[in-house]
Amino acid sequence: MSADQNRPDPAAKRTPADARPDWHETAPVVSIEDFSIDYAGERPVHAVVDVNLTLGRGEILGLAGESGCGKSTLAYGITRLLQPPGLITSGRVVFHSREGYDIDLTTISGKQLREFRWDKIAMVFQGAMNSLNPVASIGAQLDDVFTTHRPTMKAKDRHARCGELLERVGVGANRLRSFPHELSGGMRQRVMIAMALALDPQVLIMDEPTTALDVVVQREILDEITRLRQEFGFAVIFITHDLPLLLEISDRIAVMKAGHIVELNDAYDLYTDPQDAYTKRLLASFPSLTGERGDFIRTGAMDDRLEEGR
């Protein structure tokens, strides 16, 4: 039986909740057009070059690539968090709000930008579990989000909402008064996700959210993200270098190399039928858990797929 016959029709292979025939085209939430970012210097570094991407509403888009390929820079560019010498040199990022209006993110600034961030696009940072303030309780830090972005909210409502958020991510409202050091790495990561979800954003950008966690906790967090996505309907840009992990949760995967997106495809197709040589090499660097692939380590035979470009 050929691989083609084996392959189901793309629209039929998913559950109805996920069914999405080219969803990202019909209902986009973020469109990125010809987006380029440079790091200015004596020799400017072109960190992101002419990226075109459309993120569908409620879609999980995986962004894969090695360190230094520009995947985090792209995320920072989308949220306009770039610090000099980082500079957006061309292109635009348009956010299509569910209320029906569009915002060009590259043009707004000041108050407008502050209102936009977190509220519409929230971000979970790399090593997020260490980005909590060690001298403030979890509750106080969650509360800060609301005092800043929802100044009219009453203290009692804020408290209730913070508790509810912690329940949602599986930490429990009774931990509101805990300090970060009293929580495990996985729980701190959940708190960070709760914080990102606080204002019901339409897009969540997660930059290596599970890299520092061990496999069992990582699995819990992934399940949590999948569940929360169904509950809230936000779209996710999931940045990591771990391709097998991306396959588990993403609808589509984009592979980045030296600032370019070299391949963008449905997760299933990208894994079973990679087109670009770099994607193939990246896939080859993960030994398979149950299959035969990867046996070459034990024999010590050098695989030329790994040598190329190094």
Binding site: N6, E66, Y268, T272, L289, R298
Partner: protein
């Protein structure tokens, strides 16, 4: 042939909490043998006691009870005896950014262990050994790499220097604590390949500590699964991964990203 064996090794830590104290059993009655030429992977969640075992083997921690012996002689914990033991048992650390001293050159890092363990060598001979070591970890031209400082190397190159340093005293046993987890995905297999090749050349016994089941399966002959200080499963690599017996091993195997299984799910 050398054998490193742990018999009924237990490590307890006393946790103090105000005036109360409790005992944490980090490693509970663990016994296994590591023979030259063999690779054993030690897998488990963080906090399961993997690193405590490594520390005890390296004599950084003292077991509360039980005996660690090399070739049937219990390890001497001080003086010349300990130095001899350290010559035979070496370690590669997880983070190559932290394990090399930023002030010193690559040559210095490799020269030190040679000077300590082979005091009879002349300066020129030591230099030649440093170059040989660098060539063996595929860092050529070695003359070019020897005078460099760690910040002039990439993560993978640093880790290869760390491997060369561990090989400098010509050990029989190598403990590798997550040697590739800090490296970029595309060079991980390259470093593991190198370790496997060196292992065969030197007939080293390797204890590979990791939480990555996929590389553990392909890199090692046997796998030991640790859970809360206990070794709950120990067997040939393929058996442990493909036919896990213990519930916890099954949990670990299911938690690891597994594209093959996922593809089957999607295809349904």
């Amino acid at each position: 042939m050398s054998t490193l064996s742990l018999s009924h090794v237990t490590k307890k830590y006393r946790l103090r909490n105000g005036i109360h104290s409790s005992v944490l059993i980090a490693v509970d009655d663990v016994s296994f043998d590591l023979v030259s030429g063999q690779t054993i992977a030690l897998v488990g969640q963080s906090g399961s006691g993997k690193s405590t075992i490594a520390k005890m083997i390296l004599q950084v921690e003292k077991p509360t009870s039980g005996v660690i012996s090399l070739d049937d002689t219990p390890v001497i914990r001080r003086g010349a005896g300990l130095r001899r033991y350290r010559k035979d048992v070496q370690m590669v650390f997880q983070d190559p950014f932290a394990s090399l001293n930023p002030y010193h050159t690559v040559e210095h890092h490799l020269d030190r262990p040679i000077r300590l363990h082979f005091p009879e060598l002349s300066k020129a001979q030591r230099h030649q050994r440093v170059l040989d070591l660098l060539e063996r970890v595929r860092m050529s031209p070695a003359e070019d790499f020897a005078p460099r400082h760690p910040h002039e190397l990439s993560g993978g190159q640093r880790q290869r220097v760390a491997i060369a340093r561990a090989l400098a005293p010509e050990p029989k046993i190598l403990i590798a604590d997550e040697p590739v987890s800090m490296l970029d995905v595309s060079i991980r297999l390259g470093v593991l390949n190198l370790l496997a090749e060196l292992q065969r050349q030197e007939n080293l016994g390797v204890l590979y500590i990791t939480h990555d089941l996929a590389t553990a399966r392909h890199f090692s002959d046997e796998i030991m699964v640790m859970h809360q200080g206990d070794i709950i499963e120990h067997g040939p690599a393929d058996d442990v991964i493909l036919h896990p017996q213990h519930d916890y091993t099954k949990l670990l195997a299911n938690a690891a990203p597994n594209p093959e299984r996922r593809l089957k799910q999607l295809a349904k």
